[in-house]
Amino acid sequence: MSDDPFEAIKATFFQECEELLGDLESNLLALESGSTDIEVINAVFRAVHSVKGGAGAFGLEDLVRFAHVFETLMDELRSGRKACDEPTVRTLLRAADVLADHVAAARGAGAPVDPARSAGLVAELETLTHGGAAPAATTDLAEDDDFGFTPIALDLAAFEAPAGLSDLPDLPPLPDLAALAPLEAPMAAVEGGWKIVFRPHPRLYASANETGLLLRELARLGPTRVELDDSGLPTLDALDPNDSHLIWTIELDGDASEAEVRDVFDFVEMDCDLSITPLNAAASTEAPAAVEDDEEAPAEALAQAAAADLDIAALLASVGAAPAAEPVAPEPAVPEPVVAAPAPAPVAVAPVAPAAPAAPPAPTPTPSAPAPAAAAPVTIRVDLERVDRMINAVGELVIQQAMLAQRVTESGLARSSDIALGLEDLELLTREIQDSVMAIRAQPVKSVFQRMPRLVRECAEMTGKKVRLVTSGEDTEVDKTVIERLSEPITHMLRNAIDHGLEGPDERLAAGKPAEGTVRLAALHRSGRIVIEIADDGKGINRQRVKGIAVERGLIAEDAALSDEEIDNLIFMPGFSTATEVSDLSGRGVGMDVVRRSIQSLGGRISISSVPGKGSTFTLSLPLTLAVLDGMVVGAAEQTLVAPLAAIVESLTPDAADIHHVGGVDPVLRFREAFLPLVDVAWCMGFSDQPTALKGGVVMIVETESGQRAALLVDAIHGQRQVVIKSLEANYRHVEGVAAATILGDGRVALILDIDALVSTGRARSPSRAEMQMAS
């Protein structure tokens, strides 16, 4: 973390950018899938606008320029001047990609943006904006735009309560109260100007926006006449202070453009009904729902407005004198509860006030506490390092607790003794703490999934295929360390699914399928692991071809009889993917060995199922965390070792008669109808010079990540337990056959076996028959 506060703010900006870009993409995708919701378009606009605003503050000019063009088009869309059709959305999606590139480049995290690509999109966006007209020089546009957020945020005076409140009477002619009196002809035609009908939703207040500030902003654009319609106010006993009951009608004179007026409401537009109509047209026709309400009770409104006029001097005095936290009570008749309710948003009171005291039942019902139903979970950002430190500390706590438990057992204390009972409680508590600490690091896989639509788009573009990506289970949570390493294999497999799995549109149509192929990306929890499925509805694996290639490369014998499953698994073989022409054939093997390796390094497994003509499904199964492991504690040649439970199929005590030797040398274990290679763990790890005597030994049947089975021979199995994984590499280096280390209850280090390495190297070092016989 940098000490430079500017850098820290910048870092926060980029963090926000990440979220904004995520929102941007998901909203664009909603548009792509046919949403016509204006809120979605607004959300896209706001995301781009916010990125632009922040970028402007940090002088990131390239980013600002691009965002500006993007924003301009979005502005056209949200104003309805431009239809949001399919080609537009596609362009927008690509623009979002480039915007993300710009952000990454500005952050210094990505390669510089391809200028041609950026310029191309700028041109496209401008063409869409101007409906094909030659675009004006965009740089100029960017110059005269304000780069900040909406002016509301800059209006610091408003937040200097109560001093700010007392300043109110000096404000520009905001509530032109004198003008309220002649409201008999309320909407009289005025040359130029706008009629704005503004009906806040409760949400507006919940997100700490203030009507008063908006009105004040409007007043800056020109002389205003403000009319409050409080006819929607219920009687006091029916009043829900969290609801919104008021409607404002503002007439704004002067030559402010509609865009300027809209800008005022920029950040609240989602949370209110807003209609902006030219003033001279307003009196006549199209009045939105809000206005109708207004007109239904014009008399009341007028009466109240008049009353407001009378009370205003007293009100301003009382507001000026009132401390910020107690905004209300201009009328002594107002009962206490109402006073308490609006407290969270005191600043609102002053501007609201002109009309408020005129409404006897409830002066300020609008500023409300956040609606509980809409509240998102409260989150904080924490430096990952702090969480890691805590996880380490908890790991040690777990070990210490286990050591203590072991000591108590060894000391021969009765199980019912106070110490033993206390220790049991401690164990439960420790486990609970461990679980909660692990949960801190858990994150939804959304962050990875979010990046995939772009990849799919690019892949589809490159291959000329039509692809629809369907994702599910984005909220499935998994440890952050796992998440970080999921992106690469998923990227690879998606690319494979599109490149090799899906057919081209023509071929699909010929096969009686829709021209658009579907790729499904799903995440789910299954028996304590996270499962990621990547499925396509393409042509499936061409087994004949795959087998042919494998034979060609000498990976399998020509006459090898392989099951379908085994053939499918051939694509994971390292040799399979080295050939470039594989991608031209039907195989899906490009780099799959790399994928498998990276999944395995996470303690995961990968499997395929494929139906010819119907498609293929790749299934990844990964542990939820890399910090703990369910292990089987075993003994081999005086050493205590841990075998990952996930790899163990079963364990048994073998009969001497079940041991055979292939070619008279390599020992195999007859296990049901199969013969499995027998790996002597102690000997293989170099812990004993001689192979273990079979007598009294135990074997664990294990399955490697590639589905291969083997029998590991150990002296004894001590039991199953969860162990905290400790890196061997941190202070030493990787050791063949060892996946990691852990610390046992007695405080000693135990090695965690790398089953795959053991099985593959174990065979090379398997004891000869002579040695075996010597031992037994």
């Binding site: 061997l728 610390i743 280090v749």
Partner: protein
């Protein structure tokens, strides 16, 4: 308080921890030593050089133990409870150095260090930065810790 502010001549003085392996004395910079502890049985690592005694648990971290005597090619036997582990920083890593005993803390100026004479064997020379004499006719070799970890990390995997 006034006398303590006299600055050292830059780099002239350094504090070293001297230790014994067999009859020989060596030393390392005191700044690289984090703690000194008694020998405790280590978990052996498969396929590791003979001087790797294995790993022990250092408050939750896995600490590899290097038998310095064996590393230098000196004759050593099995460690006993009297042996000592110096926990030292080597780069970003933490390693335990198994030695016979820690003998002294010595303060010396860099000027006192003499280059390693040619008589030393190549293996020793690769670990010894220099030697110097201390009172009582002792000779102490200054160890370069950067070279004690097994070389060729990459090839190990």
């Amino acid at each position: 308080m006034t006398h303590s502010v006299t600055p050292n001549v830059a780099g002239a003085d350094r504090e070293l921890i001297a230790f014994r392996i067999g009859e020989q004395e060596f030393c390392v910079d005191i700044m690289s030593v984090r703690e000194i502890r008694g020998w405790s049985p280590a978990t052996p690592l498969p396929r590791s050089p003979a001087y790797m005694k294995g790993v022990i648990n250092l408050r939750g971290a896995v600490l590899p133990i290097i038998d310095l005597g064996a590393r230098f090619g000196l004759k050593t036997g099995e460690p006993t409870e009297r042996h000592v582990i110096m926990v030292a920083h080597v780069g970003s890593r933490l390693v335990g150095l198994l030695v016979d005993a820690v003998s002294d803390i010595v303060q010396l100026s860099d000027a006192a260090i003499q280059p390693t004479p040619d008589v030393a064997s190549d293996q020793v020379k690769s670990f010894v930065k220099g030697i110097f004499a201390v009172e009582g006719g002792r000779m102490i070799s200054l160890i370069d810790l950067d070279h004690v970890l097994p070389e060729g990390e990459a090839e190990a995997a």
